[in-house]
Symmetry: C2
Subunit: 690 residues, 2 copies
Amino acid sequence: MSSFLTDHGVLVALACAACALVYGAVTARSLLALSPGNERMRAISAAVQEGARAYLNRQYSTIAAVGILLFVALIFIQDIWVAIGFAIGGLSSAAAGYIGMNVSVRANARVAEAAREGVPKALSVAFRGGAITGMLVVGLALVGVAAYYGILTSWVDQRPKEAIDALIGLGFGGSLISVFARLGGGIFTKGADVGADLVGKIEAGIPEDDPRNPAVIADNVGDNVGDCAGMAADLFETYAVTAVAVMLLGVLTFQESSAVAIYPLVLGGVSIIASIIGTFFVRSASGNVENALYKGLIASAVIAAIAFFPVTHWMMDGVTTRVVGGSGDAPSVGDFYICSLIGLAITGLLFVITDYYTSTRFAPVRSTARASETGHATNIIQGLAQGFQSTAAPAIVLALGILWANDLAGIYGIGVSVMAMLSLTGLIVALDAFGPITDNAGGIAEMAELPEEVRNVTDPLDAVGNTTKAVTKGFAIGSAVLAALVLFRAFEFELNEELIAGGGDPVTFLISDPAVLIGLLIGGMMVYLFAALSMEAVGRAGGAVVEEVRRQFRERPGIMDGTQEPEYGTCVDIVTRSAQREMIIPSLIPIVVTLVVGLLSVEALGGLLIGVIVVGLFMAVSMTSGGGAWDNAKKLIEDGAFGGKGSEAHAAAVTGDTVGDPYKDTAGPAINPMIKVANIVAILIIPLIV
Amino acid sequence: MSSFLTDHGVLVALACAACALVYGAVTARSLLALSPGNERMRAISAAVQEGARAYLNRQYSTIAAVGILLFVALIFIQDIWVAIGFAIGGLSSAAAGYIGMNVSVRANARVAEAAREGVPKALSVAFRGGAITGMLVVGLALVGVAAYYGILTSWVDQRPKEAIDALIGLGFGGSLISVFARLGGGIFTKGADVGADLVGKIEAGIPEDDPRNPAVIADNVGDNVGDCAGMAADLFETYAVTAVAVMLLGVLTFQESSAVAIYPLVLGGVSIIASIIGTFFVRSASGNVENALYKGLIASAVIAAIAFFPVTHWMMDGVTTRVVGGSGDAPSVGDFYICSLIGLAITGLLFVITDYYTSTRFAPVRSTARASETGHATNIIQGLAQGFQSTAAPAIVLALGILWANDLAGIYGIGVSVMAMLSLTGLIVALDAFGPITDNAGGIAEMAELPEEVRNVTDPLDAVGNTTKAVTKGFAIGSAVLAALVLFRAFEFELNEELIAGGGDPVTFLISDPAVLIGLLIGGMMVYLFAALSMEAVGRAGGAVVEEVRRQFRERPGIMDGTQEPEYGTCVDIVTRSAQREMIIPSLIPIVVTLVVGLLSVEALGGLLIGVIVVGLFMAVSMTSGGGAWDNAKKLIEDGAFGGKGSEAHAAAVTGDTVGDPYKDTAGPAINPMIKVANIVAILIIPLIV
């Protein structure tokens, strides 16, 4: 029991997290030293940077207003330490998103410039751009959690349990940023995308990324604020929240509170080292980009799997006094280690499954492309059916993972699995952020009229980015569901502890209890309402863009023949305002509905939390996989299948792709943080409801 | 306690049910006495009749094969009485569908002929055609349940509890027919519809219902086998299953087993009388068809609400010895009566909500129509968003209903509410079956080249039929969810009774139990898989029709100029075979998955049942309302809004309507019986799992 790791685990975690931050800083420095290309390229990149900064500033101001209210509320409902944790979580998540995005919008022109020298060079720049965000996310999350825990236990002299309660606030801070960033960014990116496409491609007949389209800069800004900043905030939150929830469950269910509290942090720490090593495996000598990226991921998974063994052995040997939960004997070191391997296996399986449903190589995308031959409607029907079907395998994988990990080490075992899943977060964010950087690079190449060869390098990179984006979404929702389950159990334990401390009886959540059932219905309703509102928001934002572009074409007839400049800023401004306005109400759903139901009935609150998780899983997976299938069905046709570009089938596939946009980039991924916000709010309002 | 009703309740129910059958027979006789029109009309009607008969014969043969296997299995798992009940349920449901559909396919030509004399006459014929099916459904269901109960308790000398166990078999018989009929009929009708539209309207450029389209008869057959026979089987099942489940819960939770067992039957009986009286209120002097239909519904609801009071007073006065369940004091007569009124109120609210989301008068349909102006994709996005949003209000209504009824009289109170909801079934089936009859009548008028005025009468009737169809689906899913909850509780009580009898501990379904959670995930997965498979089935059936029609146009070039006759029979045959093949696997999902999970873990089985109910509710409502919104958005544009027929917006709206077809007529409504089959299978396999 008494090893260096157990005694100094917090310091080890902090040291590892510092490595991530150093990696980020060094890589950013070397990246920014590269040439950002000619004057035209720099100008376009600057316009994207300005738009992205303007958007994020406005978004963070809006969130800050809500955040200050919640900060004050937390002081009264909980205590000052929880409120301070909330501020730390919010600020670090915002910092990760802000810095990461600022790097991304600078990397875009540098990737376009590097693409003049071929695929390996462009891949290296784009991937490093994404890796900076990835390492910042995990580094800041781990620093925040470990440092605040260390400060509270050492200097403020709190017991582990008290310190972790304050950390729940930190998780909530991250969650708040996350739901706003996912939703606001999602509405921005898809509003701009749909609007630019509708008026540019369809009405004016100009190609994508054409500089005459006044919405083109907004579209490029959107790629960054949605896929880069949004995803970063989402995974920051999942990472921080999961770590906190697992720590909490550890101290609630085991007696060895120090070891079980620090174990998740050390797992996260060694994974950072594994991820940094993994980044050096991303090299494409052969030109196969997908293989190069996955090689990095597999390398860091293998290193992590090996490293977990001694860590588990040193820390968890002797942790046997289980307080509650689980079945059979108390878990052994081997049991904990297997739980961590289960997490890595779940990640692998979710990757393979999402790849099957969204890659052009397999039946789902091919059948969706084939269905486009008989028209728009059959394309949509097939895409919806594929989306529905794609939920089955992930549901079974998660179910088996839950079953096995629980059997080995109870709910804490499930928590260890999720921590192991999330150990790959740094690289996964890198894979995701890689997408918008190359997408932007292609846009810059198009607008700056770079030679054809440059697009021939960026286009295949962009296609790979589409697949990695889809695949990382499968990972994000899978980990979100498991993390939410861990949070739910933490809620249940905390609640019953408070109830018993107050002299009352513990509450049980029976599915046959009408109140629990009603909660399940309300939870499901929250997911559907959230999805409905965010889909409609994209429609409205897109409509506003269409009107603005029409106005510019009308008032400046010279735009089309190049004699007048379009005004890019107004489009950015319109989508920004639209996204800010539209994100508020859906974002408040998981906070307000959870609070109101909790005040009315504790049993209904329990049902609500599980209803959100179960219904949310199916909704999110069907949306992200269905959207990915539509996207790549269009790509398959554009590559020449089923009539190719310009055919009737292509027109139908474009419809599917446009429907898929808000599905896979707005509503679907925003469900992840929404699930967790509901569960974390429940924990925080316990003092109000007992 | 000892009133005539309590002593002779079964006879009262049987007498009322007999009235329904007599009403059906007399009305059928008077309807068939009407003129079926000229020779051409009779020929078309005969072709539809032949196709419908051929389809139903094949469908029932397929079901019979599965049914015989299950019959034998039930003898071994349960006993001979359950198996006989199963046969009775299956045969009466089949009889209701068979006779009803045979009347409908004869009523079509008669409505077309009556339409020559104006709206009131046509409405009267079409409504009476639907009312025959409606009264047969409730009459046969009530006769089956009441007579078998009477026989078992009087002649076979079983105790109420034993007799009701055998009735579960009867419910299962109805369920089996229902899931096959909904799915097979849904695949048939939409396969034919989508296929006929794709090749006729889009490729050959001929209007809907054009006799040159070889798939036109199959399309008309589909309206009958899907909306008429399918809906009849669905509501037969809901009615019978609910009655049985409420009876079962009554004897399980109260000591006065005779009164609580017979009360639901008497409620059903007096409702039949109320419904028969209600049919006489359906008259349109003013020509407002919708008002006329709703007047009938409101009249019978009011009469039922009044009649429930004395019935409840006479039967339930003195029922106070609650065994288990509910909160607070034992329920009074007033409590039971309020429960019945809650059921009627739920029906009314679900009607208003579905009407709001699917009628051309309100924002959801108007916004979907407006979104069509910017293309196919925005129409689809808006329709999907409206479908999602439309789940919120029904979920809240059902939640409040559950809460209130449970508070008054426990789970039996919820059962009484569902029985009261279902008391309007006879009229609701009539409203639904009214749709395909007028739709067919319009088709016959078109094909037989009747004067323009005839279509001017049938078209508005058809439009009303679309709304009533959508609205009755909202009712069907709402009642299915509540009925399934009652079944779930019955399952839980039975299971625990068996467990305790075997010397074991009762099982509890805690949502925090990993096994229950896994069950919830598997239940949700069943719904998504079921929906995915049935949507794809429609796509495949439609594709087969397209190929056959193309073949006929190629081999008989004279079809288009009228010198050669198309071969209608082969199209009917192809969709028939396709529907038979495609319905098997999805139909087996709720039987096989439930059985396998039940054998593995009782806790997971409980989770599965609730997972199917909760996820199924949202999926079914969003599909049926979304589909209805798309359908009527197209109608709104065809009536001249947003550019009218032939505009770009119209083309986009046609896409939405085609996507909505399998949504609202195949997958969505088939989820209702699927939910109940899973729950009833769970009850029947209890002997295998304890």
